[in-house]
């Protein structure tokens, strides 16, 4: 995101807290992690205490992601010295092999790990990642399906599968996957919104209505979500221009205008300093309101 703070100037404690936050939220900010590690934490990793090992693991994965295999190797070496028998370290090694495109060797390690600990799903997920890195999309789909036969309440896997189906241009199957996510976590507005997006993409009167319902639900869970707000506007607009029933048309039209009003309210709160173009968007929205209202 547009942050200007210079990460290399953070204090040790701040840097540590930031790494911890990213580690726990699971955000992918590999380059920043590497930067923080090299400029700040690596000065005295021992003062982290037991947290040291978790940080090393985090930095190792970030290093692999940011094409810093040398750094990852250092982390793996220290981790291996501390935990020579650990499967978790072995997994890091396999990930390093992946990063250097030794896919076959990585797969062998993952296979062994799965055999040793069949209940740990992270190894199985890595196997799918290997297939994806190789660009074998159909094999990856098959592998995730296999995985989901056992761990069928894993929204992360369903989301990935829906992404893959979208790449295969199979929206209907992607919808099915997202519906699973909704079943598993019915309070996550992101899944509802995305389901709305998918239904909208599918098109057709019935699907657009479903999309509108899902957007409304997403907005109810997360009232500040701009995407659902726009989604409501789009789907209502679509309904208003296609439906034959006059009352439906009127209802959708007013709903669309309401959505625009909400959006306008939101944009008016933005200072032009951070987003100099918000006025332009406001003008666009006002213009849209006129066209939608006249339908």
């Amino acid at each position: 995101m547009a942050e200007t703070t210079d990460l290399t100037q953070l204090s040790y404690e701040d840097a540590r807290a930031m790494l911890k936050k990213w580690r726990e939220c699971g955000v992918r900010r590999s380059e920043e992690v590497v930067e923080i590690w090299e400029h700040i934490i690596s000065r005295s990793p021992a003062s982290l205490g037991d947290e040291q090992w978790a940080v090393l693991e985090q930095v190792c994965i970030a290093g692999l992601d940011a094409a810093r295999v040398d750094l990852a190797q250092e982390c793996i070496d220290s981790l291996h010295a501390q935990f020579p028998e650990s499967n978790r370290v072995l997994k890091l090694k396999a990930m390093q092999l992946e990063a250097t495109e030794h896919y076959q060797k990585a797969l062998e390690i993952y296979d062994r790990l799965v055999e040793e600990d069949p209940n740990n799903n992270s190894y199985r997920k890595r196997k799918v990642a290997v297939l994806l890195a190789q660009g074998k999309r159909l094999d990856a789909i098959r592998a995730i399906n296999e995985y989901l036969k056992i761990f069928l309440n894993d929204p992360e896997a369903w989301l990935q599968l829906s992404e893959l189906f979208l790449q295969e241009n199979d929206v209907a199957k992607a919808v099915h996957c997202l519906e699973e996510c909704v079943l598993i976590q019915p309070l996550n507005s992101m899944y509802f919104r995305r389901l709305g997006d998918l239904r909208y993409t599918q098109g057709g009167a019935e699907n657009i209505e479903l999309a509108r319902a899902y957007y409304e639900r997403a907005l109810k869970i997360n009232p500040t979500d701009l995407r659902s707000q726009y989604g409501i506007l789009l789907s209502n607009n679509q309904i208003a221009s296609t439906t034959k029933s006059a009352s439906e048309k009127k209802k959708a039209g007013t709903a669309a205008v309401d959505a625009i009003d909400n959006l306008v309210n939101r944009y008016q709160k933005i200072s032009p300093k951070s987003n100099p173009e918000s006025d332009g968007i406001l003008n666009c929205l006002e213009a849209m309101k006129v066209t939608v209202g006249s339908k």
């Binding site: 660009g135 992404e163 995305r194 789009l234 213009a287």
Partner: protein
Amino acid sequence: MKYQVETQALPYSTIILHCLKYPSKGVFGLLIGNKKGDKVTVTGCVPLSHESTPLAPPLELATALVHGKFGVSLVGVYFSNSNPSDASLNMYATRLADRITSVTSSPAILVQVMNERLVSDCDQDRLVAYEKDGDSWKETKTIFQGSNFLRGLQAVIQKKLYRELADFENHLDNPEFDFYNTNLSNKLVQVAEFRT
């Protein structure tokens, strides 16, 4: 071959920065420019999304907003694939280009970032342009300005300015982000000393 595509330094850099901000993902964006005869000059770009499968609603919105602002200057689409070795055309990009063609009623161009050429010692053009020929997309000529401005771009990358870039999806997550990147463009011109 109908068109020649020339991308000016500023949009060129912005596109590369967009790719750099999301190294693990594919990116999409819109191209702003003008058409004179058979030459298309790209003078600006609007980063849209960092998903390899952007769905219809955000794209529709962004096209509407950008078209509202720039009108017929909306000339095309740029994209990059998420897998570095994948040089195929992305279906979602071609679909978006078709959409732009119908919105502006003038044939849109499609520009692909060749991921494998995104290394500092490559002297080929990192962008490849396509135009629609009947039902299929055919590669067309790009005018590569050579390595002159690439040096400026290097300075920009070293300053990590790509972290300040925002695309339309960032904007939807938080409307404080400006997906036209006005401030960033000013900085780019300063740092890299682009002639506008």
